[in-house]
């Protein structure tokens, strides 16, 4: 007796529940591993989940087992080459390959690390747990998908404003023909004939028609009556004729975003400060990548002049010169205008600086941001990186740098603008979380 069952069509992912429970269990370790992965990669390369190695301790499934060695034991091995009874063998060092046979489980000691692959989604979800982009009012909070209305055929129900005249009239006509509803022209013709005959009768001396005409008149009157009855019984437009245009909301994915990285690379920015900035940019990129299918990154660095550069140059080459922030903003404005029309791109910007600026430039920056850039941006983050020692020294003075002073008022008026201070690597993540905290939207409203 045989039953063959084809199970291939059965829903897969039966282990999903187990996998989720596993992730829950190892959450703390997985998060740690994810964070360290992020630190070691370039901005745009943090796209995938890849391999995660976590310590196996919390994943240990203990039990009562014998130790692999110690005590008195004997065991049998296959493949004797040269031994005879009574031979002595030096104890194998380290490994217990000699005791393999008598040992119950191989996963006692060796399983200190546990390696597995996170899917990209899992990876990112873990990273961005309880994080939400701040202000997507324009494109709805949850999804960045816009909708487009398209025609989707006809339906028998709808609002009068969507009535399809052509379809409705066509149906009506067909029905009228089918049911032989008299046309109004035909009725008119009958009436004309009748009135002609009646006029004829009036002209006659006795006021009566000839017998033949009288008969005709009677038939005509009967016909007219019948025609009118039919016209009444068969409506010109019946509810069954009506057709309405139907429309559908098609998601029109606006799934591309561009991220502007602006950084001051003048001499006052140390390598360490740039490293901090890099981490911030990285996080922003990752976050955007989660939201958008396609993310482009534009790197603009500036001293007293600004230029768009590649990532390598952006982070690692040095420039000397003063600091005029507005040049970078001008450059961004130009790039935006040339390549990234707002209706096709979601625009994000992150600016990192030590807060230095040419003293007369502040007003210009503010104006550029307020008038040109901020209205186009979904989000504009300014992080001010201060040296740890300096931060302490200037803590009392609130570290009011030139740029901070200029930018601070903008934050009040523009919800999509945020500014934060960062002093050391450990600050990056909390600052980032704060910037993007879920409740920020509410808080600023």
């Amino acid at each position: 007796m045989l039953y063959i069952v084809d199970r291939r069509k059965n829903p897969t992912g039966k282990s999903l529940g187990n996998r989720q429970r596993f992730m829950r269990r190892a959450k703390a370790q997985i998060k740690k591993a994810v964070e360290s992965t992020i630190r070691s990669r370039g901005i745009t390369d943090i796209s995938g989940g890849d391999q995660i190695t976590i310590p196996g301790k919390t994943l240990k499934e203990p039990g009562f087992h014998h130790m692999g060695r110690g005590g008195n034991r004997n065991y049998v091995l296959p493949g004797n080459k040269k031994f005879v009874q009574g031979d002595r063998i030096a104890r194998p060092q380290g490994g217990d390959s000699g005791a393999g046979g008598s040992q119950a489980s191989p996963d006692g000691e060796g399983e200190d690390e546990f390696q597995f692959t996170l899917t990209r989604d899992e990876f990112l979800d873990i990273f961005f747990e309880d994080l939400e982009l701040p202000d997507l009012l324009k494109k709805s909070l949850k999804q960045t998908t816009a909708f487009r209305t398209t025609r989707a055929g006809f339906s028998v129900e709808g609002t009068p404003s969507n009535l399809s005249l052509v379809r409705t009239m066509r149906n009506s006509l067909a029905r009228r023909i089918g049911l032989r509803r008299p046309k109004s022209a035909e009725v008119r013709e009958l009436e004309e004939k009748i009135s002609a005959l009646q006029a004829k009768a009036e002209k006659r001396p006795n006021g009566k028609l000839t017998k033949a005409d009288d008969e005709t008149l009677h038939t005509l009157l009967a016909d007219l009556e019948e025609a009118k009855r039919r016209m009444k019984a068969i409506p010109f437009i019946d509810p069954i004729d009506t057709r309405f245009n139907q429309f559908q909301q098609i998601p029109d994915p606006n799934t591309q975003a561009v991220m502007f990285c602006l950084m001051d690379v003048s001499g006052s920015m140390s390598e360490q400060m740039k490293e901090l900035a890099k981490r911030f940019f990285m996080l922003l990129h990752l976050f955007l990548h989660r939201k958008y299918e396609h993310v482009e990154v534009v790197f603009i660095r500036h001293t007293s002049r600004a230029a768009e550069v590649d990532e390598e140059t952006f982070f690692y080459s040095r420039e000397t010169g003063g600091t005029i922030v507005s040049t970078a903003l001008e450059e961004m404005k130009k790039v935006l205008k040339d390549r990234y029309p707002t209706d096709q791109w979601n625009i994000y910007a992150a600016q990192a600086s030590d807060g230095d600026n040419y003293s007369n430039d502040g007003a210009k920056c503010t104006a550029l941001l307020a008038e040109d850039l901020l209205p186009k941006c979904q989000y504009y983050a300014y992080i001010e990186i201060t040296d740890e020692r300096e931060a302490e020294i200037f803590a009392a003075a609130e570290g009011e740098t030139a740029l901070w002073k200029a930018y601070a008022p903008l934050a009040a008026t523009h919800p999509q603008f945020a500014l934060k201070r960062v002093t050391k690597a450990a600050d990056i993540f909390p600052v980032f979380r704060e910037l993007f905290a879920k409740n920020r939207a509410e808080a600023t409203r």
Binding site: N18, E61, N74, P78, Q85, G86, D87, G101, Q115, T117
Partner: protein
């Protein structure tokens, strides 16, 4: 030429791909051989075709088609997933479930030759073994297992809904740690049966309300005479207590399920589920080598028979031999690939050897196996063995000197006091019996797994639970694991637990590990 075409007509298949018609035809041909030539006694077969992804799913939930959810299965899944995707590890070609009907999973990627091999191996070899071996007959209920797993799965899901993931996970973690100590080894358990289980589960709740257990008294009784009680009286009380709790009890899970003072009814039920599943797998652990040997012997006989009848081509036969020889490969002890005896290799070699002894015995075989040598009934002899032995007793009975020589087995004596290992015996006249006994012991679960027992409960005092590990030959427990496991016991028990290591020979307590509830909280 004509004979060649005629031969080709008889072939069950000519290409590597399979479809349901060829699968059915192949099955019928195999069934014919298995039933009419080998006269195997099998459950009805259900062959299920699955994808590799589904195979991975099945893998992670210990090979069962239905299983409750637990993170440890997810851990296995993510690990196997990596191994498989990176190509470090292939998937099993088949999984077979001891149920009635007997369910074999075959992968869609397999070639038709592989499907034939898998059907012969699992649907007839393992199937026959499941149905006829005394351990399976005695301990498992093939008719009820799927129903029971269904019950277990939905029960645990219900508990998760009602009491939360964490609470259920805690109990399952603890129960899994004790799974090996959750089997009855000697007494015959009732077979799990769905209707009875459901009824029992309801009754348990009722029983809880109605019964009173001295253990659950909230105020410890003071016993003013305690100091004066003489040794004899004290001993009598211990005996009384032991009788009351049925001590010593080697089934730790059973003991905790019945007696742990603080467990909820649903927690006891979960312990019971884990215990029942552990019990279901217990025969498989004891017969791994024989079971695989039986299946390999059967598939080897069937594939050869198919070939002899001209039902499969030479190419198919070559493909089969390739798979087969990889499955029954035994690495030697000094090989990098060596990781103990391969149960497939040893099992198959032993079955083939018994076959040889029955059909073509030597002088030596007559001396060693007077009952079966030359009886010319190899399949009957093997079927007898499959029915009435487990790995340990099977080796003790049937491992022949020839096979020991062929596999060049030698025995190592490892005394902790000696700086050297000693070769205690090799494959020669002096050594055969020693080697055989040692190999048999290696396959004895009761030797491989530690001897753990609940020995006492301090019901008058602080409800301390005493668990004893009997140390044989000074082989101790893996310390860190034992401590963690003890923690789990304490969590289930709710009060302090003491683990005593007792020497088997002298009976003296070697060392003690104590756990107080405060420790357990951390």
């Amino acid at each position: 030429m004509s004979s060649k075409t005629k031969a080709a007509d008889k072939l069950l298949f000519t290409s590597a791909d399979w479809d349901f018609d060829t699968l059915k035809a192949t099955y019928d041909a195999i069934e014919d051989i298995a039933i009419n030539e080998l006269k195997l006694d099998v459950y009805p077969n259900q062959v299920e075709v699955i994808t590799s992804e589904q195979m991975l799913d099945a893998y992670s939930s210990i090979g069962m088609p239905l299983m409750y959810h637990h993170w440890s299965f997810g851990k296995r899944f993510v690990r196997d997933d990596v191994m498989y995707r990176k190509g470090y590890q292939g998937l099993a070609y088949e999984i077979v479930i001891n149920s009635n009907p007997c369910i074999s999973y075959v992968m869609e990627e397999n070639t038709i030759v592989m499907q034939a091999l898998v059907i012969a191996h699992a649907a007839f070899g393992h199937n026959h073994f499941f149905k006829n071996n005394y351990l399976f007959k005695q301990w498992t209920d093939a008719d009820g297992i799927l129903d029971y797993l269904q019950f277990a799965k939905s029960y645990i899901a219900k508990c998760e809904d009602r009491y939360g993931f964490d609470a259920v996970e805690r109990i399952l973690d603890a129960a899994h740690a004790l799974m090996d100590q959750g089997v009855n080894r000697y007494s015959r358990p009732e077979k799990p049966n769905l209707a009875a289980e459901l009824k029992r589960e309801r009754e348990r709740a009722k029983y809880e309300d109605e019964t009173y257990n001295d253990l659950w008294r909230t105020l410890p009784q003071s016993d003013p005479g305690d100091q004066d009680v003489d040794e004899l009286k004290r001993k009598m009380r211990v005996e009384e207590r032991r009788a009351q709790f049925g001590l010593p009890e080697e089934n730790l899970l059973y003991f905790l399920e019945k007696n742990a003072p603080t467990l909820q009814a649903w927690e006891r039920e979960i312990l019971r589920i884990v215990r029942n599943i552990g019990q279901y797998f217990y025969p498989q652990k004891q017969t791994k080598m024989m079971n695989e040997g039986c299946a390999c012997y059967v598939h080897y006989a069937i594939m050869n028979s198919l070939y002899d009848k001209g039902l499969i081509s030479e190419g198919a036969m070559m493909e089969f031999i390739d798979y087969h020889s990889r499955v029954v490969f035994q690495a030697e002890y000094d090989d990098q690939r060596y990781s103990g005896f391969n149960p497939y290799a040893l099992g198959f070699a032993m079955m083939q050897d018994i076959h040889r002894i029955c059909v073509d015995p030597t002088e030596e075989d007559h001396k060693w196996f007077p009952d079966i040598a030359g009886n010319n009934a190899p399949v009957e002899t093997l079927k007898e063995a499959w029915a009435h032995y487990r790995d340990e007793s099977f080796i003790l009975q049937f491992l022949s000197p020839k096979l020991m020589r062929d596999m060049r087995m030698f025995m190592i004596d490892d005394q902790s006091t000696s700086p050297h290992l000693e070769v205690a015996a090799i494959h020669d006249d002096n050594g055969y019996r020693k080697v055989r006994r040692s190999l048999a012991r290696m396959h004895d679960i009761s030797v491989r797994e530690p001897d753990m027992q609940v020995v006492d409960v301090d019901i008058r005092g602080n409800r301390q639970l005493y668990i004893q590990h009997t140390e044989h030959e000074g082989i101790r427990l893996e310390k860190s694991e034992a401590e963690m496991t003890l923690g789990y016991i304490g969590q289930l028990w709710g009060y302090g637990v003491t683990l005593q290591a007792v020497d088997y020979e002298s009976g003296e307590i070697l060392h003690e590990t104590n756990y107080t509830p405060e420790d357990l909280a951390n």
